[in-house]
Amino acid sequence: MIAAATAAIDTSALLALASSRDQYHRTAVDVARRFRTRGGRWIATTLVLGELHGHLLKRIGPAGARRVVEALLADPIFVWHDASVELVRGAMDRWITRFADQRFSLTDAVTFELMRMMNVRAAFAFDRDFTTAGYVLLD
């Protein structure tokens, strides 16, 4: 059965895939393989790429970080959206201001806003903020 043809992808999922020592690595690999086999497509903004690149840069250096980001940019399973000023403004108004008691990162809030605009309900993430925002996690 096809669970979700389009889902958002978060930095937490990309990092879980990137580190086999991560507590969610095995789950992440299973979810990614199933999603790919089902013909799904992930959406995200360039802020997620920026966060991932920051982690990779810190831990494996510029060459490794560049290789991974270039591969992600070239892969048609990922649809990358610009984090425009308008999208950020929507994220501020609808998520960061409205959920003032939460510590949503701007990257997450922009993803929530992108999901809202594209009517996407599911996310590949290991971050409880997505469920707080009312979205479901791929499993």
Binding site: R59, G64, L72, H81, D82
Partner: protein
């Protein structure tokens, strides 16, 4: 209101009765529009073709990319914001900073 750019190109496909019945049945079972069923089938086929840069081709580059690094915490995915934005070690000084410092001595 912000607009998310979607590029879409119409493609006309001729189906015989059997393929049309398959498409209708798949759409009914998945509760997806017929166009989405066709898109999914296309991506699945592309992913299965050997030797192509199809959907998911980046996954081998991503999976295990951090395994060569020391000290990657087991809760990196769950707490990535904390690890990224917590105090980072100071960057090496730039050439200009080192020159200025030498000049002051």
């Amino acid at each position: 209101m912000a607009k998310v750019r979607k590029v879409r190109e119409p493609v006309q496909v001729y189906l015989d009765d059997r393929d049309r019945a398959l498409l209708d049945a798949a759409a009914a079972r998945t509760a997806l529009p017929r166009a989405e069923v066709l898109r999914i089938a296309l991506r699945r086929l592309a992913a299965e073709l050997p030797g192509t840069r199809g959907p998911g081709a980046a996954l081998p580059a991503l999976i295990g990319a951090l395994d060569a690094a020391d000290g990657v915490p087991t809760d990196l995915a769950a707490r990535h914001d904390d690890y990224l934005y917590a105090a980072a070690p100071a960057k090496p000084k730039s050439v200009r900073e080192r020159r200025n410092r030498r000049a002051r001595k």
